[in-house]
């Protein structure tokens, strides 16, 4: 059965690595639903969060193939339930609509969103949440004609108390030294 999986990849910072990782998906005709990349808590180590819809059997194989890439330190996969995750969405609405009634203000307040910036022409609203939530807000705001809308890829944390990466790196170094 297909479901959403979150693949987390820790890697060295090398040019071309993103392409190498995405090749693993394209080759198997797996669509990437969302992707974020940024430096992790450890300087020089990059963290990719990739969301795909597939079967557990397939995601295991994909993670194995990713981990095989020379510049990849470690790759994991998690179901949504195993993670705390968020996406951020920005909405641009005409400022006029804000003045015409207090409806927008109410929507913003009730949905836990916030107003980032107001100019004469437009107002930018920000909301973080799961896709269903940011999408629901879009539907609500769109009665006032959303001028622009953008949603980010996912950022996710495991429910572990700490990130295991630094321990992992220590173990890896010890292991490599033991091979000498």
């Amino acid at each position: 059965m297909k479901q959403e999986f979150n693949i987390t990849v820790f890697s060295e910072n090398h040019i071309g690595l993103l392409a190498r990782i995405t090749i693993v998906f394209t080759r198997r005709k797996i669509n990437i639903e969302s992707l974020t990349v940024s430096e992790s808590a450890i300087s020089g180590v990059y963290k990719f969060t990739i969301v795909i819809k597939t079967t557990e059997d397939q995601v295991k194989k994909v993670v194995s193939q990713i981990e095989k890439i020379v510049d990849v330190l470690k790759a994991f996969y998690h179901t949504n339930q195993e993670l705390i995750y968020q996406e951020i969405a920005l909405y641009k609405v005409p400022t006029d609509a804000l003045y015409d009634s207090d409806q927008i203000e109410n929507i913003v307040r009730n949905s836990g969103a916030r107003i980032l910036e107001i100019t004469r022409e437009f107002t930018v609203i920000e909301k973080t949440g799961h896709k269903e939530e940011t999408q629901a807000l879009f539907e609500q705001l769109n009665q006032f004609k959303v001028m622009q809308f953008i949603r980010s890829g996912r950022v996710a944390l495991t429910r572990d108390p700490i990130e295991r990466l630094s321990e992992f790196l220590k173990e890896r170094d010890a292991f490599l030294n033991s091979m000498d």
């Binding site: 060295e12 392409a19 090749i23 194989k61 194995s64 095989k68 490599l176």
Partner: protein, 567 residues
């Protein structure tokens, strides 16, 4: 070598680095973007041999042939753009067959990257899916470390091809050269230590199995585990069958060698796969040409899988026990943990299956009563003439399967063939690399008339370098393997598979290579002898039956149980 830093150009640093890695031979082809490196090479012609092939694809396959025989990385040079793209087929072949290879391509100067400069192509991007690792060097200082990493990655763990793309300005620039071999990379664990608990679990399954079967692949050869394999099967009495790339790891005449797996493999090992209660797979990856229909494969068997590559575990066939690590170590531990055993009755079933196959297929192939020559009788004669001690190189097609079935081996590392990619045109150039890797051994290249014409220009390289390759051209005037499928599965609709061939003898003569053409059985022995006695390269063209088929055959998509012995 001098460990004190010295000032050299990037180009010279490339050559010095290769020397530090013990490189003796480079296969390559020059062009604008790699000219500085070729210029640096000019001063080192006493220390390093360069073989100028006639096409970059030839250079790549030659490097593969060299790597297969030596176990060391084959090295190729090519220029940017078309030079680099011509390497790609060979790189893809090396990737799927786990062949260590270091390719160095010239690239336009770094300020021109991305400008569609003359002969610029995105070699990094193009080669990414078919390399184990690749890297673009844009400054001279990066050269020694990048080359050190390239060799480490290509040759360690599950080997594979790597590519370094070096911009022209990095070749011209200067650096303080000093070299340090790469021994580890933080993000890369080539091999994990064998887990003794997994070995124990595997040993328990092995000790309790009634009908165990061992399947070995190229992993045994790569990890130099031939003796460990032999010790394991001899202690446990387990029949062993091989994949195409595992061929030669175990001598043909070993009593526990029960033959080839897969589509055109032997009858016994295929049908017995579905009767076995335990499969021990060593350094093989359950390729679809081996498994046939996966859902009907090894149905009654537990699976023990030994491999160095974690991504191969459970990729196709789920393992009951997976032993990760180097086969040389894991096989040794497994042997120590298993009880001495025998499986005489089970082994005799393989022998019975062989008798069936002999009667229906082998006898007809090797001792034909019809007029036309068979590929099998030619291969068998040639193998005998070399006392079964030659290196066999093949191209791709019917002759490849027949050669794998009937050529005999006494020594490991004696087969060079394109397995996973099935690359026609591989044979002739790969034979050059094999011959250069083993100048004292006889190298026989068995090639079809189709594949021969894909890289026939390499006859020039063979002639120029006086490589005494014995070329056995099995001419059926067809793209035989495709024709066989057309006959069996496309109602004999021979769509574009017939070849009107040139006079091959005249062509080889034109290259200065001797040869002869055999069209009837009575001339075969003498011709084979003449080829073997000839000092230098030789073409033996044998006109074989036009419409012969390779059997047995597991039709594509069928279960290995449904292997056919005749149409």
């Amino acid at each position: 070598m001098n460990k004190e830093p010295m000032k050299v150009t990037g180009s010279e640093a490339v050559i010095l680095s290769l020397l530090e890695e013990g490189v003796e031979i480079i296969f390559g082809y020059p062009g604008g973007a790699i000219m500085p490196i070729y210029d640096a090479l000019y001063d080192y012609d006493k220390k390093i041999t360069h073989i100028l092939t006639r096409h970059e694809q030839g250079a790549a396959h030659a490097a593969e042939g060299y790597a297969k025989i030596t176990g060391k990385a084959g090295v190729c040079f090519a220029t940017s753009g078309p030079g680099a793209t011509n390497l790609i087929t060979g790189i893809a072949d090396a990737m799927i067959d786990s062949i260590p290879m270091v390719c160095i391509t010239g690239q336009v100067a770094s300020p021109l990257l991305g400008t569609d400069a003359f002969q610029e192509s995105d070699v990094l991007g193009i080669s990414m899916p078919v390399t184990k690792w690749n890297y673009q060097i844009t400054t001279p200082e990066e050269i020694p470390d990048a080359i050190a990493q390239a060799f480490f990655i290509a040759q360690s763990g599950r080997p594979g091809p790597v590519l370094l793309d070096i911009t022209k300005d990095a070749q011209f620039g200067e650096l303080e050269f000093s070299y340090k071999k790469c021994k580890k990379i933080r993000s890369y664990v080539p091999e994990t230590p064998v887990d003794p608990f997994k070995v124990k679990a595997a040993a328990e399954l092995i000790d309790n199995a009634k009908k165990p079967m061992l399947l070995f692949g190229q992993g045994v050869i790569i990890s130099k585990a031939e003796e460990e394999l032999k010790a394991f099967i001899e202690k446990t009495g387990i029949p062993a069958a091989w994949t195409l790339l595992g061929l030669s790891a175990l001598p043909t005449e070993h009593p526990l060698n029960v033959g080839m797996l897969g589509m055109h493999g032997n009858y016994g090992p295929n049908v017995k796969t579905n009767e076995a209660d335990l499969i021990i797979a060593v350094g093989m990856r359950f390729d679809d040409r081996v498994t046939g229909k996966v859902s009907a494969y090894a149905r009654d068997a537990k699976i023990v899988h030994l491999d160095i590559d974690h991504a191969e575990i459970n990729k196709i066939i789920k393992a009951d026990v997976a032993v990760l690590g180097d086969a040389k170590k894991s096989l040794k531990m497994l042997t120590d943990n298993c009880k001495k055993n025998e499986h005489k009755k089970w082994l005799s079933e393989f022998n019975k299956a062989y008798d069936t196959e002999f009667e229906k297929v082998i006898d007809k192939d090797l001792h034909p009563t019809k007029e036309g020559l068979t590929m099998g009788e030619v291969i068998s004669k040639v193998s005998e003439a070399t006392n079964h001690e030659a290196i066999l190189v093949t191209d791709v097609g019917q002759h490849q399967m027949v050669a794998a079935r009937y050529f005999k081996f006494k020594h490991s590392r004696s087969l060079v063939t394109s397995g996973g990619l099935g690359t026609m045109g591989y044979g002739l150039p790969a034979s050059m690399g094999a011959q250069l890797a083993a100048p004292d051994r006889t190298v026989v290249a068995v090639i079809g008339d189709g594949g021969f014409q894909m890289t026939i220009q390499e006859l020039g390289t063979i002639a120029q370098n006086k490589l005494p390759v014995k070329i056995v051209l099995l001419n059926n005037n067809f793209l035989g393997m495709v024709r066989q499928w057309q006959q069996l599965f496309f109602e004999k609709r021979y769509s574009f598979t017939e070849l009107i061939n040139p006079d091959f003898l005249m062509i080889t003569k034109g290259f200065g290579i001797n040869g002869q053409k055999v069209t009837s059985r009575e001339n075969l022995d003498a011709a084979v002898k003449e080829m073997m006695d000839h000092d230098g390269p030789y073409l033996l063209e044998v006109v074989v039956e036009k419409e012969d088929n390779v059997f047995p055959m597991v039709p594509s998509g069928a279960s290995v149980s449904h292997i056919l012995l005749e149409p």
